[in-house]
Symmetry: C2
Subunit: 273 residues, 2 copies
């Protein structure tokens, strides 16, 4: 079966089209898609170039290309409709209904969503990313008063990528603290965490997965051994339960799913929206 050509065309970054089209494509696991992103298609000339690229891909592959488009300028949609592809306009089925319901015209301005439409807001988000870097892996605990949340868990349970995602995507000030041998010994919450107990969320992980991950980092070490991984996970979960800390299992969850879960369970509201 030949690859089905897919085009993602937008007058801005194309991220919205990318996100929705990937979700749609993922519902057809047996189809092999060959995807091309055409972002910043923001002049009639560039739209015509896109039309030519789509037609060429269709001829070469022998398959009708799927075209996912997000144009806020409707005249671009019209030019694009000349292409020999199946065009999925991801905005128009919804914008019209919203206009009627809200009794408002839409602004038809591109880049309102993924761009810097609000400078203050955008820089809060970047500041949150810097904070997540600054407070990674138990560093700078004296700055925990600024934390939206603090992720707690054994080494390599998924804390760092989750914190970076929470900062980048939601603008949360996300710190993380690794539980070590020392912390486990006492059984009580590590000192720097005690004053911030209500903002802690725990991550746990399947011990065998943890063993795999640690083995890639330090093959054959005691740190990566199954026994040690099992012990670390049991002790981390004990600490969560004893201190009433909500937690979830990162084994089968992506950072996106972990982020949504944590946000939802902690009742966090992003200041970005």
């Amino acid at each position: 079966m030949p690859h089905c050509p897919v085009f993602i065309v937008s007058d801005r970054s194309g991220l919205t089209a990318e996100t929705l089209s990937h979700t749609l494509m993922s519902q057809f696991p047996d189809v092999r898609f060959h995807q091309r992103a055409l972002p910043f298609v923001d002049t009639p000339q560039k739209v015509q170039q896109a039309v030519r690229a789509i037609d060429e891909a269709g001829r070469e592959s022998g398959c009708r290309p799927l075209v996912f488009a997000t144009f806020v300028d409707e005249s671009f949609s019209e030019i694009l409709s000349a292409a020999e592809g199946e065009i999925f306009d991801l905005f128009s089925p919804f914008i019209g209904r919203m206009e009627r319901l809200l009794d408002q015209q839409s602004s038809h301005k591109p880049g309102q969503s993924h761009g810097i439409s609000d400078v203050g807001r955008y820089y809060r988000r970047i500041d949150a990313v810097n904070y997540a870097m600054h407070c990674d892996d138990g560093l700078h605990t004296q700055d925990y008063n600024r934390a939206t949340l603090i992720l707690l868990g054994a080494s390599r349970s998924g804390k760092t990528p989750t914190c970076l995602y929470l900062a980048l995507h939601f603008g949360f000030y996300a710190a993380n603290y690794p539980l070590t041998e020392e912390d486990f010994g006492t059984g009580v919450l590590p000192g720097p965490l005690e004053p911030h107990k209500d903002r802690i969320f725990g991550l746990t992980i399947d011990p065998m997965r943890l063993h795999q991950i640690r083995t890639e980092r330090r093959p054959g070490s005691e740190y990566a051994s199954v026994a040690r991984c099992r012990q670390d996970v049991v002790r981390a979960e004990q600490m969560f339960r004893r201190n009433g800390i909500p937690f979830c299992d990162s084994t089968n969850y992506s950072v996106e799913e972990l982020g949504s879960t944590i946000k939802h369970q902690m009742g966090l509201v992003s200041s970005l929206y």
Copy 2:
């Protein structure tokens, strides 16, 4: 004008619904939306709870709620349709057409897009995030052979958040190297970069914005002065031009837009899709 209640309802993380609905809402800058995300609504009982929450918000606000939904289980959509809200089903207008065009049934399985549907792929992405942390700010240049790209620019020109975004979103191994006084002195590419010239991308920034950003970090310092910022920017751009390094201006671009621009200009293809 009262806030218009908005619900984002999904049987998984709801990220696709979130992305598209934010883009749509951003087209109505004069409307005040009050948004609630209801992720992981994956049982009929939870859908009924969502219906009640929507109806309550409608009564309280006096406005008909907007409901953006992504259910892959169609029976959930049916239950949701009982809600007194304007329901925007973000999947069904597209899935049916794709099924006909591809001559395939969709899988109707949730979590194919933002979840860990392919473990190897997911861990490559997490590995890319770890790499971006490892090679941040000129660290570990001996590992540049693994880099998909290396961002180059003056201190605080936006390299770190852009690298983290490129790693998290596309799985690119993105390193970054700050240009310092020392590098500017010689006028040639810093030694560790020379062998990787074809994978370097430059970031520049408006000197006054750079001054603002550096002032927040080190108020009143020579480092943050307008003169120094102007000089650093001029010299960085000179270095890019002299060495034929493509670059773009980060001043008015978000990390998402920078990411799309860099990916597009460098012709990078994400191995995640």
